[in-house]
């Protein structure tokens, strides 16, 4: 070991310097060398059993499993020697002898590690001439179906349920080539985080019922996003086809959700595709709503709001950018803003520190409060008679309706007509979370970006665009032409966000400066 406390070694001719105890496999990643592997997953205990990650260690007589071999000073590792490649080729051939090769109808096709590594270094043909084993498909409960014929027994799913979910409902049953993943009759994969086994499965053995036969994965477009299912702020990939969200997948972020998302968040996407959207700006006239140009609608809304105290009912799923623009509008009019936080029961993932499906079932309650909105069970309680009411993507509960009646005028900015609202004077259609860029602040104060994943519905505009237009129409001097510019302005005004920009946030986000830091700076 060198003086720095780091271990220095060579992998595929590249110098590597890593912490002691790092595995060869992880060390290789740091220099861009991907050692093929199946059973290894950085979020799970090491099994060392698939034997796919065998590499050549100089001076060692036998190949070593890179996942279970700790780095050593001066070690020379070669991944692509004849010996190592032959060994891995052997593993691939064996993994495929009983595999049904049903890629054309397999949901995993296109994102299957068995396909990828076989393509990369597997044998061109099999020498297997005997009957293949067959086991029937089994419903594991929850969102999960098990296709044993495709299973390579890497046990990632079993280890996830044992060591991360702490709910050992999966097992390996039988032994030898009769072995398969099993569960106990009547004990299903009902854990709130269980569907992660689908993502963990490197092949098509565990597939999502929700996604089953819905799309070929190569047809999907992908964008980085953040889950709106609760205040945890798990990082997501939103996958769409033809402007329809097909599924949500976790995006690794060691600071927030490691590699996982809960089933609630995973399956909470159908509303993103709803068809009863507000698609055109409109003004209410004698004959009902009249579709108008954006300029007309914005001016109409401004005319209604101008000179009145504006009360804002804002969704806790709005971006920081939208909420900040609303806060400016509120300040200017001497009004107030509030929101109701939807609730559910908390469901932690015990194997990961500070990761849970939170009771607060919206993404940006923290941001909303930070930017001056009041969290309330009766959010319209503060609405004074004669106030203008601006509802931004927030439904009305039955008890809100009477309060709303006090308002002198109602402007709706949002993705759809708010439930419970009878009528509005102006409608301003907004993009939903997967149609725009923005940021959320999670419950630990981490500010994270989400990116547009699909085209807006109709004439809807991004929330920051709609609201910045409204602010301008109400006399604000600043104009913004991108989400990032709104964020920059926000960061200048609020010390908690000081130093942040989209560039700084990147795709993993950054925590807001704590109160203590803010005081020091002041």
């Amino acid at each position: 070991m060198s003086d720095s406390g780091m271990v220095n070694l060579t992998i595929e001719g590249r110098a590597v310097s890593v912490e002691p105890g790092t595995s060869v496999l992880e060390a290789a990643k740091t220099v861009g060398v991907l050692i093929p592997h199946y059973c290894y997953h950085p979020g799970l205990p090491v099994a060392g059993s698939c034997r796919m990650c065998l590499v050549d260690v100089e001076k060692a007589p036998k190949l070593a499993p890179a996942c279970a071999t700790a780095v050593a000073e001066g070690q020379v590792i070669r991944v692509h020697t004849e010996k190592a490649r032959t060994a891995r080729k052997g593993v691939l051939e064996m993994l495929l002898i009983n595999h049904p090769l049903d890629c054309p109808i397999c949901d995993r096709s296109g994102e299957c590690e068995l396909q990828d590594f076989t393509y990369q270094e597997g044998p061109a043909e099999s020498r297997y001439r005997d009957p293949k084993r067959f086991n029937p498909v089994e419903d594991f409960g929850g969102d999960v179906v098990y296709v044993p014929n495709r299973c390579i027994l890497c046990t990632r799913c079993v280890r996830f349920m044992d060591d991360v979910a702490h709910d050992p409902v999966l097992n390996v049953e039988e032994r030898g080539d009769r072995a398969h993943i099993g569960k106990f009759e009547g004990k299903d994969l009902t854990h709130p985080w269980a569907a992660n086994v689908i993502d963990l499965c490197p092949v098509g053995a565990l597939v999502s019922k929700d996604f089953l036969n819905k799309a070929r994965v190569w047809e999907l477009d992908r964008a980085a996003s953040v889950c709106t299912g609760c205040s945890q702020g798990c990082n997501l990939v939103v996958e769409t086809r033809d402007n329809v969200v097909m599924r949500l997948k976790p995006r690794p972020n060691p600071e927030v959700n490691e590699f996982f998302i809960c089933d609630h968040g995973r399956l909470n996407y159908r509303w993103m595709n709803r068809r009863d959207r507000l698609e055109s700006p409109a003004i209410r006239g004698a004959g009902g709503y009249e579709a108008v140009d954006w300029d007309v609608a914005t001016a109409g809304a401004a005319r209604i709001l101008k000179g009145k105290r504006v009360f804002v009912l804002a969704s806790p799923n709005l971006s920081n950018e939208a909420l900040w623009l609303l806060s400016r509008l509120i300040r200017k009019s001497g009004g107030a803003g509030a929101f109701r936080m939807p609730n559910g029961s908390e469901a932690p993932l015990p194997g990961v520190v500070d990761l849970a499906l939170r009771a607060d079932r919206a993404a940006n309650g923290a941001g909303a409060e930070l930017l001056g909105m009041t969290r309330s069970e009766s959010p319209l309680g503060g609405l004074q008679a004669g106030d203008a009411l601006l509802i931004v993507d927030h439904d009305l509960a039955p008890e809100d309706v009477a309060f709303a009646g006090r308002a002198s005028a109602v402007v709706v900015a949002g993705t759809a007509m708010p439930a419970g609202l009878e009528r509005a004077d102006v409608l301003l259609p907004m993009c939903n979370v997967v149609e725009e860029d923005g940021t959320f602040t999670n419950l630990r104060g981490r500010v994270q970006r989400f990116l547009q994943a699909k085209a807006p519905s109709g004439l809807a505009r991004p929330s920051w665009y709609v609201l910045s237009g409204l602010c301008t129409a109400l006399g604000d001097s600043a104009e913004y032409f991108s989400a990032s510019a709104v964020f920059d302005a926000l960061a200048t005004e609020h010390t908690e966000f000081a130093g942040m920009s989209y560039g700084v946030l990147g795709l993993r986000g950054r925590r807001i400066a704590s109160q203590a830091d803010a005081e020091v700076r002041a």
Binding site: N171, D177, G182, K183
Partner: protein
Amino acid sequence: MSHGPSASAGAIIRSGHHDDAPYEPVFVGEAKVRLDELVKRYPRKVGALLPALWMVQEARGWVSEAGMAEVAAQLDVTPAYVKGVVTFYTMYNQHPVGKYLIQVCTTTPCHVCGAEDVVRAFLDQTGCGELGVTSEDGRYTVIEVECLGACGFATPVMVNSDFLESVSADRVADVLGRYR
């Protein structure tokens, strides 16, 4: 779950003798005291899993899913965990067996001494006909097993917990006479 062609013998096949009576717990009274004693031998409760499963098998003749669930509850593990263990070890019967479970070693040392003839004789003379299937009268189940560790006494045969040495095909009738 069923299995297609695979290199294994010795499995007990579910035949018409499934016991559908409600499950009676094993670990009550003395058995519970005995299990508590066994647990003390191990620093972790689950160490007593194999012995606990043996107790279930001795009491019931096989280890049913209900039995696995009972053991799981006793040792604070999940039934799925217990099932993973039960299915690993071939001596835990996953289905009911006949009054006499006849296990004939057919691994190489016995194989070269004619163990297959012994198996055939048992299958024919018990009326089982087929490996792993219980005879019509519910008396016998015959399975092949891997090495019983008495290779110098080919062919060793286990009838329930009795360990018989040097059983040849022509001694099978004799043996069966002792287990009616």
